[in-house]
Amino acid sequence: MMHYLPLLGILVIVVGFGLRFNPMAVVPAAALTTGLLAGLDLATVVAKLGKAFTDSRIIAIPWIVLPVIGLLERYGLQQRARAVIAGFRAATAGRLLILYLLYRQLISAIGLVATAGQAQTVRPLVAPMAVAAAEKGGPLDDATADRVKAYAAATDNVGAFFGEDIFFAIGSILLIQKTLEAYGIALSPLQLSVWAMPTAVAAFLIHAVRLLLLDRALAKERRS
């Protein structure tokens, strides 16, 4: 029974997120709960948390683009992105995001997953362009504009997740290889990464259909 105790850390997360407490309080609380219930002393848990945080610094690297994006925004980048899209008659939010989905999957599949992302491309380019495309049928209320932006963010995630594993040298493929190797199953990264392709195609088809449905929903809302 004792080894079920650390699971209370998961409970802290579920309840904390459920009650909409500040995640910055919930997450360390969950880590401390788990560590202490697993029998570690406080200093060890704090040190573990510090080491893990420091080992995760790679996640913060994309923030380096903020000064460039901020500066260009001061000179009107977002407004420019909207103006460009307004010039394309055939552009709709859905079609634009399908193009971006394809780009995101391809660029990730050749190992360049970090060259695009929420900070690098979605905030400065993709989201304002998608909103501008949707606005061509008429002005959007805030909730609808938010929905279009959320779809822009979602499209980046879907494209990255279901493109990157086609690249054989990505971390997740190497992790699969190492895990299976421990059981005497020897596979090359390439043998694994080819099997990311069927899911990549399925992800493209499913998400593209949903983006076309988004277009239809936007058009319908406007008529009513």
Binding site: P23, A47, G50, I61, I64, L72, F162, I206
Partner: protein, 316 residues
């Protein structure tokens, strides 16, 4: 060799500059909180390698406390919406050039470095870090170009970067916080216990229930920990290898590759994957904190079914 430490130092320097400017920002009622928050984060980025685990842990708890007790705020932006629209009219489509340059340098630079043997042979960049280094280089080149062309005040990029990072607030740090929770959970065997629980709930004598236990287990553990990388070794050890590969003789390449992707479907569904699902909420200034997840449910669930079917039909 240029690698992780170089990029940590550059990113850290930008946050140190945000901290410094925050300190003197009288339009922000909580300027000391902001300065402490970004300053501590910068300290961890730049010096975390040498500070020692306990000191880094102290920084983590201090960041959490500053965010939890509402000690960080926002200053007034230096420019308003109308000025920016008028500027955009004046500068035209050339405004895209610097940001496209950042992306272009990262893409072309990585491809050149990886596929031209004489370049790769120099060992200039740390292995698998070339794209991130080149991203930083691209930012520096783009800033140089922007200075020469737009002639902003010297501090403008830092001021505007701070505008964005203040809008993000603690959401800029949360992804690292969650990643470290994932590591603590893995370290204390929580994942393994959940894997065992999944096995006791689902009958696994036949192939289909075993495949379902595997893909749903991957998605579920990813939802709880926010990280498919943490889930994979656990679920593969508990279900994937002993049941699917050894007992039912499935193809390990398909089971491994598609199993990881089933986990990615879980990533689309959880606020625990903050850098994908929470950061955009702050970055795009959306009202609903769950807006991105709501936009992803309709893709994630059918795709999870597809992944389950792929393993069931192709691996056996």
């Amino acid at each position: 060799m240029i690698g992780s430490q170089f990029v940590y130092a550059i990113v850290g320097a930008s946050f140190a500059a945000y901290a410094w400017l925050s300190l003197f920002d009288r339009t922000n009622p909580r300027r000391f909180g902001n300065a402490a928050f970004w300053g501590l984060f910068a300290l961890n980025l730049i010096a975390g390698t040498w500070l020692g685990d306990l000191a880094n842990g102290g920084i983590v708890l201090a960041l959490a406390a500053l965010a939890t007790f509402g000690l960080i705020g926002r200053g007034r932006p230096a420019t308003d919406e109308e000025t920016r629209a008028a500027e955009g009219e004046r500068h035209g489509n050339r405004l895209f050039l610097p940001i496209l340059l950042v992306i272009g340098i990262a893409v072309a630079g990585t491809l050149l470095y990886d596929y031209v043997p004489t370049l790769f042979g120099t060992g200039l960049f740390e292995k698998n870090r070339e794209t991130l280094v080149l991203l930083c280089v691209g930012v520096l080149v783009a800033l140089a170009l922007a200075y020469a062309w737009l002639k902003p005040s010297p501090l403008a990029p830092v001021e505007e970067g701070r505008r964005l990072v203040d809008a993000l607030g603690w959401a800029a740090v949360l992804p690292m916080m969650l990643a470290s929770l994932g590591l603590v959970l893995a370290d204390t065997g929580v994942g393994k216990t959940i894997g065992e629980l999944v096995l006791t709930v689902i009958p696994t004598g036949a192939v289909l229930p075993a495949v379902l236990a595997f893909t749903l287990g991957m998605a579920l553990l990813t939802i709880l920990t926010g990280n498919a990388f943490a889930a994979f070794p656990v679920i593969a050890t508990a279900i994937g290898v002993p049941l699917l590969v050894q007992a039912h003789h499935g193809d390990p390449a398909i089971i491994g590759a598609v199993g990881m992707l089933a986990g990615f479907c879980g990533t689309l569904l959880t606020p625990m994957a903050a850098n994908f699902n929470v950061v955009p909420w702050a970055l795009l200034e959306l009202k609903d904190p769950n807006a991105v997840i709501k936009a992803q449910v309709g893709t994630a669930l059918p795709l999870l079914a597809v992944n389950t079917a792929l393993i069931y039909f192709l691996a056996f």
